[in-house]
């Protein structure tokens, strides 16, 4: 048998009955056409402009990292007291962006929220591209990045293992687990779509590429049976993993002795903050994407409104945590904690605290009104504010806490250097460059799932 080829009737012997008349373009075909066409078009000038700008920024990140590897970590603004600054703040920021995608794709899947299909691909892509940036930061924040691999428990001639009591090792496990899980989950979701692209691709190299990526997906009922089980299974795994992962990031700070870090509320606080910040980034990505690819049919205002409701809810949860932090500091009667939080309100670093509060808590109040929840541009603006606010939240937690620790003689300052700006801007460049690139090679809305959702509804 010829390798299981399906043979077209036209090429077959004429013994067969006359084929049925060609069917009119179905709803499914229209969806396919809508979502897959961009992958086969040469990108326009707008895309190139955006991509080159983002890639240029990402180049600055490479420059900053290269200089630091050659010259020393001293090129950044950190010091003996504030040992983590921009690097780790930005790291937590990107981790949080990564969290939102998983929350949308897994948690909503577990709750059988069918509407997630319109947005889960885009948010999962956000997850993947944010997690690789986030994963980059711990690697490059070390003094000797060329030996970062010592954090992997590899058998070595010293018979020395990493130290699993360290929250950094927990982080290694968390980030690795989360990144691997997210990528597999994401890829699993992409396989039917890659098969679609494979079969649609006009050029041989594209067929080969997508054929490779689709890994021989056939769509048989037996495959779907396993596939859907595996997909739901991933949701079951990813949901605890994402919560555990971000809680681990939180424990990285919470198990330490630093006033301002040492708080039991941190794990839920960080998860809520991550969903909040991640959804903010989701608006920033989804709304322009919808406009650029004319996906209004798939990413509807209903989607935005539902996301905005969750967004508002977690925003309020974050506001609650802000209050609880201060309450806990006061209630603890720990003098260093009390000093830390009083200083956060009033000290010379207080501007970033108030900026965070203003960005995070004021704009979202608009979302009490339905009109703004469905207003794409408004959501983007709010999302940008919250992104700024959430970056400063991490900055405040890290830098302000470290600046004002238990040792009064070491209450000190922290300032960005030019390389810190490169690092920060470059990470955004890298993120958007990846998003833009991905939007060219795969559908930004899950073709198979959206068909199932739309056609499943219409055809019973």
């Amino acid at each position: 048998m010829s390798g299981g080829e399906l043979v077209l009737p036209a090429s077959a012997a004429g013994a067969a009955p006359a084929p049925a008349a060609p069917a009119p373009p179905t709803e499914a075909a229209r969806i396919t056409e809508d979502l897959c066409a961009p992958a086969f078009r040469f990108p326009g000038p707008a895309w190139w402009a955006a991509f080159l700008a983002a890639a240029g920024l990402a180049g600055l990140l490479v420059l900053a990292v290269a200089v630091y590897v050659i010259a020393g970590y001293g090129v950044f603004g950190v010091n003996n007291v504030v040992n983590w600054g921009n690097d780790i703040a930005t790291y937590i920021y990107w981790i949080a962006v990564a969290v939102a995608g998983t929350i949308v794709s897994s948690v909503l899947l577990l709750f059988r929220q069918g509407w997630r299909t319109g947005i889960n691909r885009a948010t999962e892509a956000m997850t993947i591209f944010a997690i690789n940036i986030a994963g980059l930061f711990p690697l490059i924040h070390t003094g000797r990045p060329w030996v970062d691999y010592w954090l992997i428990p590899l058998p070595n001639d010293l018979a020395l293992w990493p130290q699993f009591k360290s929250p950094i090792m927990w982080d290694v496990f968390a980030i690795t687990g989360y990144a691997v899980c997210s990528i597999l989950f994401f890829y699993l979701g992409l396989i039917p779509d890659f098969a679609t692209l494979r079969d649609r691709a006009p050029r041989a190299w594209q067929r080969r590429l997508y054929g490779f990526l689709a890994m021989g997906w056939s769509g048989s009922s037996a495959d779907w049976n396993h596939y859907e089980r595996a997909y739901r299974q991933f949701a079951w795994l990813a949901t605890p993993l994402v919560i555990a992962m971000h809680s681990t990031i939180a424990t990285l700070l919470a198990v330490s002795h630093v006033p301002g870090w040492h708080a039991t509320i941190f794990p839920p606080y960080f998860v809520a903050g991550a969903v909040f910040g991640g959804l903010a980034m989701a608006f920033v990505v989804l709304v322009p994407l919808r406009a650029a690819y004319r996906l209004h049919r798939y990413i509807t205002d209903d989607h935005l409104e539902r996301l905005a409701k969750i967004f508002l809810a977690v925003g309020l949860a974050v506001a609650y945590v802000y209050g609880m932090e201060f309450f806990a500091a006061w209630w603890s009667e720990a003098p260093a904690e009390r000093e830390q939080f009083w200083w956060r309100l009033t000290g010379e670093g207080a501007w970033s605290f108030w900026l965070m509060l203003a960005c995070n808590l004021l704009p979202i109040q608009l979302l009490w009104w339905r009109r703004w929840r469905r207003h794409g541009a408004a959501l983007v603006v709010i999302g940008i504010f919250v992104n700024i606010g959430m970056w400063f939240e991490r900055y405040n937690i890290l830098v302000l806490s470290l600046r004002h620790g238990q040792m009064p003689s070491e209450w000190t300052t922290y300032a960005f250097t030019a390389f810190d700006w490169l690092l920060l801007a470059g990470s955004f460049g890298l993120f958007f460059a990846q998003i833009l690139l991905f939007a060219r090679i795969a559908p930004m809305v899950s073709v198979a799932e959206v068909k199932a959702e739309l056609l499943g509804r219409s055809h019973g």
Partner: protein
């Protein structure tokens, strides 16, 4: 080292190896062979001096840089030379033995210790130099010396780095492959290298012809040095005038003692004999020699259980004032009257008399002072300051203890302080302290004497032994420029050398023979511990050569010189002999020193080789004390009444870190934070908070000070505790020709040399302050200055402590149940089961905050011991200092006075790794790079560290230090202001990637590295490990001896250096150890332990202020202990 260890010797154990064997390195031999072939000189005959000079230059060009291996060979040999010549076994030590061929009885890599002397701030300090393979890497006070007792200070600790200063003769950065050493001649404004022979002939000719010769030297107080001066004086007769000069010389104190006591002597303070000490704007802790600082420790420990009480009367916050129990702010111009007023009270109480002029003016002044001085609060009452001081002094007298008043230091060296010195001298006589707690010694140097002498015309001026009047004497530079022939014999090319016509570089103390007299009746011998690194020659040697060239050689020296072979035969030309033959030879001067000392020994009935060797081992000798010349007492005039206090006046204090300025090119001292202001790398102008508020000046603003015609700009610093009406500047900063490190300091042209301000008047000159609006960020290691509660540092009042010795006031209520009482680590509230125990040693430390003066000797000692590089001003500004131990300084004041910042109590707290049992850093390291040793030390494994820096974040004490750059390859960090881009460029192009080039340019600085301690790579964390290498040495020795060693066998570098012995280190498992006993002291507490449960192994003893308790404090005590306790 403690008295139990006697590692040092004069190396006579090495003398067993056969003399004359000529083993030198193949590369040197090859180079020489090549050289000889090139010169066509393979005949075995002598060559003349110019040829040798040329050869030497060529040889150096052939072997660029002293590479590590060849250096080790040479310097390894040098130690043998020093020792063997020291032993006197071989009068012509031609046997330069490379230690690569191991002599019997010595082990490569094992330290050898030599007793010698170094001079800092013009005062000698008997030290023991620790040498590895012929290079000294660490200096510590001589433990046997009765006045030093193994103590040292920051400048003594740093002196070893001066030895290796590349600016003395390393490769010239401007001209690669060119050395900066060797004699030079100035011709046409350009410096030309010349030969020693040529120099000798030229200067000798001048010497023969000159009618009036002035020889300016640093203090020369040793027996041989004095004999040498006499020798020269005899040879040159009336034509020569010798002046021993030091900018801090206390001419006015000498004058005061002459007027009051009738002897021209400089005061020597014996603080340890006093029970109450009153200082008048003086800073013996910062400017006194090591013996004085050590005496403070004994004074502070007190007699009969009561610690000495220190009262400081001063306008500026001195380091001594920062340690004071009671600090009385007073204007500088009032000090003499304060002293007289105190004397008046005492005279009244004891029925003694005051000088008539004083007695007449005193009532009026006393009334004025009563209004001017802030009274002392005593249990709700206000006692006038003068009466309080007088009462304290009298109380000491009544209980049979000594009370002492003290005025000294660079601020009081000028004539403007004469009145104060007279008053203090009179007061001491009244108190009975004169002759007991203060005595007289022949003055070591003069300052004003040189000013006067320079006004005359001189045909020839010789400057030697570090005297640098062009820098530190106003007007001297102009006068010296006019001298027809000026010859500098200083070890460095300083400001005076820059004006000279001839430079004949001298030797560092550690390279040369010499001696000193620290105190009358106590002389110290100085032996070289390394062969001269560069083409330099002892100043005495140069002077003798000049005499010889002039044909005036005294027979004593001539005979010594004749014993040295003039030129070596070519057949034995080696690099060593080239160097020797270029006539830097130490030999005549060495022989002279030995002869003088042999006479001293003979006078005590000792003689021969054994006595000489014993002397070299011991380092010092009791000698007959010299009497100070008598003078006629004068009538005492009343000090002038101070002018109205409307104008600001200038107060010049000596720098508390870099000292008189001679060590300004020393990065360790530059980076040492000032004990009071915590500023490093720059001088500054300190303003009182009141004046700063009036003028609108804030920290780091550049202000312009106008003193008469002179205008200088300095960054301002608002100094807590400074009296309104004065501006304090610091002597020692602002050199123009100290070297690369100091050039970094002086890069901004406006930084001032305070010596030259006000024509040398050290205080009282009217100064106007102009704001410039410019900002200059002073590098500070501390940004917050107030304590927050008692978690970290504790302060107690002696009086309260007496009533509450159990410190019940301080026990937090929750501790007992939280911890359990068994002292077991972990306590009751723990999720952990079994904790680790340390059955062997368990090292711990006790730091007595009451004894700590904040001087920073521990910081520099730690840097020297543990290879901690300086990181430079820019990195300090970024809070990246690398010191493993720092001294936190906190100001505190009652709430009502805190805002004014005028009256503050100061607390110094050394902060280093606390070696916590529950170390927060260890649990968070992912790479196992920090962990507990089996002796309880929190150790850092550098080669395992990847630099996540989590440990540093999690350290509540903030004592972990990160290598942000490759600091160890830089001389003083990536030194540049401005943008990081520039920083990067410099790092990439200058010091970072071109480490090899930088190393060559910085050679031989890395020879100061302790071979027992790793040099850290960039990107790794480091911190104090209680001198792990010494713990290892302890263990090795225990294994060798098969027994436990006694407490104090070894100690950490910081504890060893501490001048007041505030730091005690030892085995907590040894119940006999001092550290165990002190840990049980009721004053003991552990920093942040109550909050973080870190279980530190360092216990601090709370500072005990010997001051009256305030009403609030007594009320609090009553509340805590019940009413009867406060009785």
């Amino acid at each position: 080292m403690t008295s139990d260890t006697r590692f040092w010797s004069c190396l006579d154990d090495l003398a067993g190896r056969p003399a004359g064997s000529d083993e030198f390195a193949p590369d040197v031999a090859a180079a020489i062979a090549e050289l000889r072939a090139a010169q066509g000189l393979d005949r075995e005959d002598a060559v003349d001096a110019p040829t040798l000079d040329r050869w030497r230059a060529e040889l150096q060009a052939l072997l660029p840089g002293v590479n590590r291996r060849s250096f080790l060979r040479l310097s390894g040999a040098a130690a043998v030379l020093a020792a063997i010549s020291g032993c006197g076994g071989d009068p012509h030590p031609d046997t330069l033995v490379p230690l690569a061929a191991q002599p019997e009885g010595t082990t490569l890599g094992e330290a050898l210790h030599y007793a010698t002397v170094v001079r800092c701030n013009g005062a000698p300090c008997p030290v023991v130099a620790r040498c590895y393979d012929g290079r000294p890497i660490k200096l510590d006070g001589n433990p046997d010396h009765p006045l030093i007792r193994g103590r040292s200070d920051a400048r003594v600790q740093a002196a070893v780095l001066d030895l290796y200063d590349p600016d003395r003769g390393g490769l010239d950065p401007a001209a690669p492959r060119q050395y900066r050493d060797g004699p030079r001649q100035r011709s046409g404004g350009q410096w030309q290298p010349t030969g020693w022979g040529e120099l000798d002939r030229a200067v000798g000719e001048r010497l023969r012809e000159a009618r009036r010769i002035l020889w300016i030297s640093g203090p020369l107080d040793g027996p041989a040095q004095r004999a040498f001066v006499e020798l020269l004086q005899r040879a040159l007769g009336e034509r020569l005038r010798h002046i021993a000069y030091h900018p801090w010389a206390e001419d006015s104190a000498v004058e005061a003692r002459a007027r009051v006591l009738g002897e021209r002597s400089a005061p020597r303070w014996h603080l340890e004999r006093a029970a109450v000490l009153v200082t008048f704007a003086s800073d013996p802790l910062a400017h006194g020699d090591v013996a004085l600082q050590a005496a403070y420790g004994r004074f502070r420990r007190g007699q009969r259980g009561e610690p000495g009480q220190l009262i400081a009367v001063e306008p500026v916050l001195t380091q001594t004032g920062s340690c004071a129990d009671v600090r009385v702010r007073a204007a500088m111009a009032d000090l003499a009257w304060v002293a007289w007023a105190v004397a008046g009270e005492i005279a009244a109480a004891e029925g003694a008399a005051l000088p008539p002029a004083i007695a007449a003016a005193l009532p009026e002044q006393r009334a004025r002072l009563a209004a001017a001085l802030r009274p002392v609060a005593q249990d709700g009452e206000s006692v006038p300051a003068v009466r309080y001081i007088a009462e304290r002094l009298l109380a000491a007298r009544r209980r049979g203890a000594l009370a002492l008043a003290l005025a000294s230091g660079p601020t009081h060296s000028g004539p403007e302080s004469l009145d104060l010195h007279i008053a203090v001298c009179w007061l001491n006589r009244l108190l009975g302290a004169e002759g007991r707690a203060v005595s007289g010694a022949p003055p070591r140097a003069t300052r004003d004497g040189l000013s006067a002498a320079l006004a005359e015309d001189w045909d020839l001026v010789l400057v030697s032994h570090g005297a640098n009047p062009a820098f530190d004497l106003p007007g001297a530079a102009e006068r010296l420029r006019a001298v027809p022939c000026l010859v500098s014999l200083n070890p460095t090319r300083d400001e005076t050398a820059a004006l000279a016509h001839w430079q004949a570089p001298g030797l560092h103390d550690l390279e040369s023979w010499g001696d000193a007299e620290l105190a009358p009746g106590q002389a110290e011998i100085q032996q070289p511990v390394i062969q001269p690194l560069w083409d330099t020659r002892a100043a005495e040697e140069s002077l003798a050569s000049f005499l010889s060239a002039a044909g005036l050689m005294p027979p004593e020296l001539a005979s010594e010189r004749a014993a040295v072979p003039a030129q070596p035969p070519l057949s034995v030309v080696s690099r060593k002999q080239l160097w020797q033959a270029s006539a830097r030879g130490l030999l005549p001067w060495r022989s002279f020193v030995r002869r003088v000392w042999s006479e001293l020994l003979a006078a005590q009935g000792q003689g021969g080789e054994a006595a000489w060797r014993a002397l070299l081992q011991r380092g010092f000798l009791a000698v007959p004390p010299r009497a100070a010349p008598p003078a006629l007492p004068h009538a005492i005039a009343a000090p002038p009444a101070p002018a109205s206090a409307s104008a600001l006046t200038l107060v010049c204090s000596g720098s508390r870190t870099v000292g008189d300025g001679s060590q300004l090119n020393n990065p360790w001292l530059q980076e040492l934070p000032d004990p009071v202001s915590k500023v490093c790398w720059d001088g500054w102008a300190a303003l009182s908070p009141a004046d700063a508020a009036r003028l609108g000046v804030a920290d780091d603003e550049v202000i312009e000070l106008a003193v008469g015609e002179a205008r200088v700009r300095l960054p301002a610093l608002v100094q807590d505790g400074q009296h309104p009406g004065c501006v304090e500047v610091f002597l020692g900063w602002g050199r123009s020709a100290a070297g690369l490190v100091a050039d970094i300091t002086a890069a901004d042209g406006w930084r001032a040399n305070a010596y030259l301000l006000a024509g040398g008047q050290r205080w009282g000159a009217a100064v106007t302050v102009q704001r410039t609006g410019l900002r200059y960020e002073l590098a500070r290691t501390q940004h917050h200055h107030r304590l927050a509660g008692e978690r970290v540092a504790r302060d107690d009042v002696w009086e309260l402590h007496q009533r509450d010795p159990g410190q019940q006031r301080r026990q937090p209520a929750h501790h007992a149940w939280e911890r359990g009482t068994d002292g077991r680590p972990g306590g009751r509230l723990s999720i952990w089961g079994r904790h680790h125990t340390y059955p062997g040693h368990r090292w711990g430390m006790v730091i007595d905050l009451d004894l700590c003066t904040g001087c920073g000797a521990c910081i520099v000692a730690c840097s020297a011991e543990n290879n901690v590089p300086a990181v430079g001003r820019d990195e300090v500004r970024r809070n990246r200092e690398l010191h493993w131990i720092r001294i936190d300084r906190y100001y505190s004041a009652p709430a009502a006075e805190a805002a004014a910042r005028l009256d503050v109590a100061v607390l110094h707290q050394p902060m280093l790794c606390q070696q916590c049992d529950h170390a927060p850093c260890e649990a968070v390291c992912p790479a196992n790079a920090t962990m507990k040793s089996e002796e309880g030390i929190n150790i850092q494994v550098y080669n395992r560290c990847i630099g996540t820096r989590y440990c540093a974040n999690n350290c509540p004490y903030k004592v972990r230090r990160f290598n942000w750059y490759q600091y160890s390859a830089m001389r003083a960090g990536p030194q540049r202001a401005g943008e990081p881009a520039q920083r990067i460029a410099r790092n990439l192009l200058g010091e970072g990637s071109a480490i090899a080039a930088a190393e060559r340019a910085h050679a031989p600085l890395h020879f100061v590295l302790n071979p027992e301690v790793t040099v850290r790579h960039r990107g790794v964390m480091e911190k104090c490990n209680f001198c792990l290498q010494r713990q290892r040495a302890w263990r090795r020795e225990e294994v060798r001896r098969h027994q436990r060693l006694p407490d104090g066998f070894l100690t950490t570098a910081c504890a060893q250096a501490c001048p007041t012995e505030a730091i005690v280190w030892g085995d907590l498992n040894d119940p006999e150890a001092r550290v165990s006993a002190l840990g049980e002291d009721p004053r003991a507490y552990r920093a942040l332990d109550a909050e973080s449960n870190t279980r530190p192994k360092i216990a601090y003893l709370a500072k005990l202020r010997h001051r009256p308790a305030s009403a609030e404090e007594l009320a609090a005590l009553r509340a805590a202990l019940g009413p009867e306790a406060a009785r």
